[in-house]
């Protein structure tokens, strides 16, 4: 199984110097999409084209990007802002990192076109706290873009002004949630705001704001350069455009792969990523980052698209595909992930703050062989009491590993309780305390 697709976002990322402006101008889009947008299109036309392209947000929810921009209150007398969400903290996700590191000008060009579309003059790239070296690259290349006149004032002599700034967070998963990101940008704790008002109405500094993922913004220059019809023709209907997949776990060649969303999960794992390591068998797949429910091997022969994965009962999320082989103890895995969620819960709302920790404690007890049968239903009940009842979607994210592993692997939980130990053949397993992200 191999996937033949000429990458559009990551075509040159393995070539030396791909991050430089000279390279970008010689080989890639070279700010011609920005030129086209500001010199030949009205902002409203840019939004129409993005809508027509069918581009959906790559940050997790798959919300149509053109629509998001349309909601931005353009008549407001206040300044508007673009926030590029480069917090990329969902376990298993490492695509935005690649784009920013190897193709930063595509990100910058996307930011500038987005600004033009919504009437903003400033874009902030909010970058994850740990991405020190990526921040340096971005800042260096933003500098180059200013020198070349692609940023700054009077771009292409049209009177369009645009500044792009990089803001490094302090390292928090929750800072990737759009309103928490905005709070953090304002210098406060990365805790979400209650919605409504949505950022499109009242976002950064209470001004109309669009928050877009790095990969989303990288698709925008493609739409403008090649036209919405060309773009919409890539991949299945309503799931258009090139997509980056981060395949990791027990595969032979983990990495970022670019494909249209017609590619199947199976092709990504067994084709792109070279199949399971050591000839092991696949046990389960997390299709869209740690906060998406697991799928079983017989569920993965489906397109890795927003709609197809949703239909299978999970989510494309951040397209972080984690393949787990038969040596994986699902109780251990759930515990490991809950160690992450309990640590990353921002603590603002009650169910998540108190519940995530409780879930972790229950999982740790079961995993240690000290659990009770009732703990399994308690896990489900506590999850139910978190799900849909929190201030932000983090709560739903945190319970996904618990609920879906119990649904599919309840036997493993019961075995831990009954036998007081793990019964999964342990070829490879993380031991000791779970590794904290920060």
């Amino acid at each position: 199984m191999s996937v033949s697709f000429q990458p559009l976002l990551t075509r040159f990322v393995r070539e030396p110097g791909s991050a430089t402006l000279d390279f970008y101008r010689a080989r890639d889009l070279g700010y011609e999409a920005l030129r086209k947008a500001v010199t030949t299109l009205q902002p409203g036309e840019v939004i129409e084209q993005v809508k027509a392209s069918g581009l959906r947000g790559r940050g997790g929810a798959g919300f149509p990007t053109g629509m998001k921009w349309q909601f931005v209150l353009k008549d407001s007398p206040k300044p508007k802002y673009i926030c590029c969400n480069a917090d990329e903290s969902e376990p298993g996700t490492f695509k935005d990192h690649l784009l920013m590191e190897r193709n930063p000008h595509l990100v910058i060009e996307g930011c500038a076109i987005a600004c033009y579309a919504i009437g903003a003059k400033v874009a902030y790239i909010y970058i994850r706290g740990e991405f020190y070296h990526v921040q340096r690259i971005l800042e260096r290349e933003i500098e180059a873009a200013y020198r070349a006149g692609f940023l700054g004032t009077n771009i292409f002599g049209t009177g369009f002004d645009c500044d792009v700034y990089v803001h490094r967070g302090a390292g928090a998963y929750e800072a990737g949630e759009e309103t928490a990101l905005i709070e953090s940008l304002e210098g406060k704790r990365a805790q979400p705001r209650i919605k409504p008002p949505f950022p499109a109405v009242s976002g950064l500094y209470n001004c109309p704001t669009a928050v877009n993922n790095v990969e989303t913004l990288c698709n925008v220059p493609l739409v403008i350069a090649h036209g919405p019809e060309w773009y919409a023709a890539i991949g299945p209907e309503k799931n258009s455009g090139p997509k980056l997949y981060c395949v990791s776990g027990h595969v032979n060649t983990p990495g970022v792969f670019e494909a249209p969303m017609s590619v199947t999960l199976k092709e990504l794992i067994f084709g792109c990523a070279g199949g399971m390591r050591d000839g092991r068998t696949l046990k389960a797949v997390i299709p869209g980052g740690s906060s998406t429910p697991v799928l079983l091997p017989d569920q993965i022969d489906i397109p890795a698209s927003f709609d197809a994965i949703a239909k299978a009962g999970s989510m494309l999320g951040s397209a972080a595909i984690i393949a787990l082989d038969d040596t994986t103890c699902m109780v251990w895995m759930a515990k490991n992930l809950l160690a992450f969620y309990r640590h990353e819960s921002c603590g603002k709302c009650t169910p998540c703050r108190e519940g995530a920790d409780w879930l972790y404690k229950l999982l740790a007890r079961i995993e240690a062989g000290e659990g009770r049968m009732a703990d399994i239903d308690l896990l489900l009940d506590v999850s139910r009491n978190i799900g849909g009842k929190t201030l932000c979607p983090f709560g739903d994210a945190a319970i996904a590993p618990v609920v879906s592993t119990i649904r599919h692997f309840r036997g493993e939980y019961e075995a831990h309780v009954r036998e007081g130990r793990c019964t999964v053949p342990a070829g490879w397993r993380g031991r000791g305390t779970a590794v904290m992200a920060h």
């Binding site: 704790r189 703050r353 108190e354």
Partner: protein, 599 residues
């Protein structure tokens, strides 16, 4: 008002447009619990207990953050709501110490009350609780000069944080760490340093923030009576409630246990400052004057009865008046109620010395953040405007600087034979009169009469001391810095033989041969209303003064937005044995003593 109609639990409700579902429920008397919501603070939407079901919305919604819209159908009792709400209570309590028996909030704790009403019967949490600074009250840590903090009890509603950010204007409190480890903190553990700190105890829905002043002092059920009154520690005139402890007769200590703010949207909102909140101890303090004092022929002061004291005052002042016009001068504290100032004015006019009084008070700049939303005036007295309205010279007025220099010059020049000081405020609140005490000691003036509530160097120098009443011991009118005429109500009886100040002045007038004809305070207010028609005083004779009422009643009526939630409290409390709180029946409006003619 643009109105919106909706139904809550099947009951039609109409509210002002823009109100939230929670506010509509509160207005309609529907019980919806809440913690992070506070009517005086911004919406946070974080505690999640206020969830309700709204038709056509896929998920349960937090009612505090959902604005009412026309035709909305809300349920607070749907099984889905009840279930989810109970779950939030379970979450709130899994780490809560449940040390209610030793917690100061016990008995007036929304976490207790709502958990009983809406929470699950038992918790399924069987792991050790999260502990921050120690177990039990060992966890109480310093939280600045006025407060203590117990992080184990905190439910992270962030009301305290928002109070400091939004009202105090200096965001001294924040959350440190995150997730399950989140804790309320101040920079470098410095605690809260603010003149508004006491409000943090009020906003905290649990016993996490307590005031050092009230800590371990009482229980709400030991405070069977509360009187609504007005603070007189500055010219703002905040509406307050005074809590009185009912205690066995044999117990010592004070009755007055705390003062809390009472909602007055145009004056103090939900808040009050620490000066008024904590500055009440003098009322039942050691320095209170409880009997008249007369300096005898031997030069020593000795306690006396009212008859003797008043007779002495009559003789001394009568003699001084022979020194001619200007020989008798008065100094009046701006802590005096309007009634007292009015009676004094009548006396001076009858004596033909209409301008013989100087009004004086204390001023102090308050150190408050630039962004503060609750400013404390510089004028540390409640009634400068009342004095102004009665025609006393108060210089530049409420915000001005009082001036005693003319009086001081006259005293130094020897033209003043007697000075009469009316000072019903705490010692020193009238301003610096040490020069007068020294002048009297030096023999000029020859006579010093001090009508006061606390002993001070001034009373030490006086020939006669007449014990008056503190503001909590009498009904009185005070005109605040906005010009509002407000009635401060009596909550306590004055100590010993101390009396209402206006009646003392009537008796002093009588001793000087002037009959003013007021038998009770109501007569004085009637005369004020007649003397100042058409303005804010026109109906001061109609002002009703509150009497101490049962605390349960107060809890229901004082704060309209919280009213409904107290309905179930204090219903089945044991009676406090032999409690001695004076309620309505006990108070006879400050009578004038029948006085034998001077002679």
């Amino acid at each position: 008002m643009e109105a919106v109609s909706l139904t809550i639990d099947g009951v039609p409700v109409t509210v002002e447009k823009g109100r939230t579902v929670l506010q509509a429920a509160i207005e309609a008397g529907v019980r919806v619990p809440y913690y992070c919501y506070h009517p005086g603070l911004d919406i946070d939407g974080s505690c999640r207990v206020c969830i309700v079901k709204i038709e056509k919305m896929p998920k349960l919604q937090t009612s505090c953050s959902t604005v009412c819209s026309e035709g909305m159908v809300v349920s607070t009792t749907d099984p889905e709501v009840a279930d989810a709400r109970a779950a939030v209570f379970e979450f709130l309590l899994i780490n809560h110490p449940l040390d209610c028996p030793v917690c100061d909030k016990g008995g007036e704790c929304p976490l207790q009350d709502f958990s009983y009403s809406f929470g699950p019967d038992e918790s399924r949490m069987d792991f050790p609780r999260r502990v921050f600074d120690g177990e039990g009250v060992m966890a109480d840590v310093d939280f600045g000069p006025t407060l203590m903090l117990n992080r184990n009890r905190c439910i992270l509603c962030t009301r305290c944080i928002r109070f400091m950010r939004e009202i105090d204007g200096d965001a001294q409190i924040s959350v440190a760490d995150r997730g399950n480890g989140s804790e309320i903190a101040t920079f470098d553990e410095e605690g809260v340093h603010s003149l508004l700190s006491g409000n943090l105890m009020d906003v905290c829905p649990v016993g996490a923030i307590t005031t050092r002043d009230y800590r371990f002092k009482s229980r709400p059920w030991d405070n069977p009576a509360v009187a609504d009154t007005v603070c007189t520690m500055c010219s703002k005139g905040c509406h307050t409630s005074v809590w009185l402890k009912g205690k066995p007769e044999w117990a010592r200590g004070s009755k007055l246990v705390r003062i809390t703010p009472r909602l007055a949207p145009e004056i103090n909102g939900y808040w009050m400052c620490d000066i008024g909140r904590f500055g009440y101890h003098w009322v039942e303090g050691e320095r209170r004057l409880v009997r008249p004092i007369v300096r005898g022929a031997d030069g020593a002061q000795a306690a006396a009865g009212w008859h003797d004291a008043l007779r002495t005052v009559g003789m001394l002042l009568g003699a001084a008046r022979e020194g001619g016009s200007g020989a008798l001068r008065f100094v009046v504290s701006a802590h005096a109620a309007t009634e007292e100032m009015f009676v004094l004015k009548g006396l001076m006019e009858a004596l033909g010395e209409a301008a013989a009084a100087t009004v004086h008070w204390q001023r102090s700049e308050k150190d408050q953040p630039a962004a503060v939303k609750f400013t404390i005036p510089v004028t540390d007295a409640p009634n400068v405007n009342g004095a102004r309205d009665l025609g006393y010279a108060v210089g530049a007025g409420n915000d001005g600087v009082p001036d005693l220099s003319a009086l001081q010059q006259a005293v130094n020049a020897g033209s003043v034979k007697a000075v009469y000081v009316v000072d019903p405020g705490p010692a020193g609140s009238i301003g610096d009169l040490s020069w007068l005490a020294a002048a009297r000691t030096a023999g000029r003036p020859a006579v010093l009469i001090v009508q006061a509530v606390e002993s001070s160097p001034l009373t030490d120098a006086a020939d006669v001391v007449l014990p008056g009443s503190a503001w909590l011991e009498k009904d009185g009118l005070f005109t605040n810095d906005q010009g509002r005429v407000q009635g401060a109500s009596r909550a306590l009886a004055p100590p010993g033989d101390a009396r209402d100040d206006w009646s003392i002045l009537v008796d002093v007038a009588h001793a000087l041969g002037v009959t003013l004809g007021y038998a009770q305070a109501g007569d004085v207010r009637k005369a004020i209303a007649e003397a100042l028609p058409g303005g804010p005083y026109a109906d001061v004779d109609q002002v009703t003064f509150a009497r101490p009422v049962k605390a349960s009643h107060w809890l229901r009526t004082s704060n309209p937005s919280e009213r409904w939630k107290w309905d179930f409290m204090f219903q089945d409390l044991p009676p406090v044995k032999g409690h001695s709180v004076q309620t309505e029946q006990g108070y006879v409006d400050g009578r004038v003593l029948p006085l034998r003619p001077v002679g």
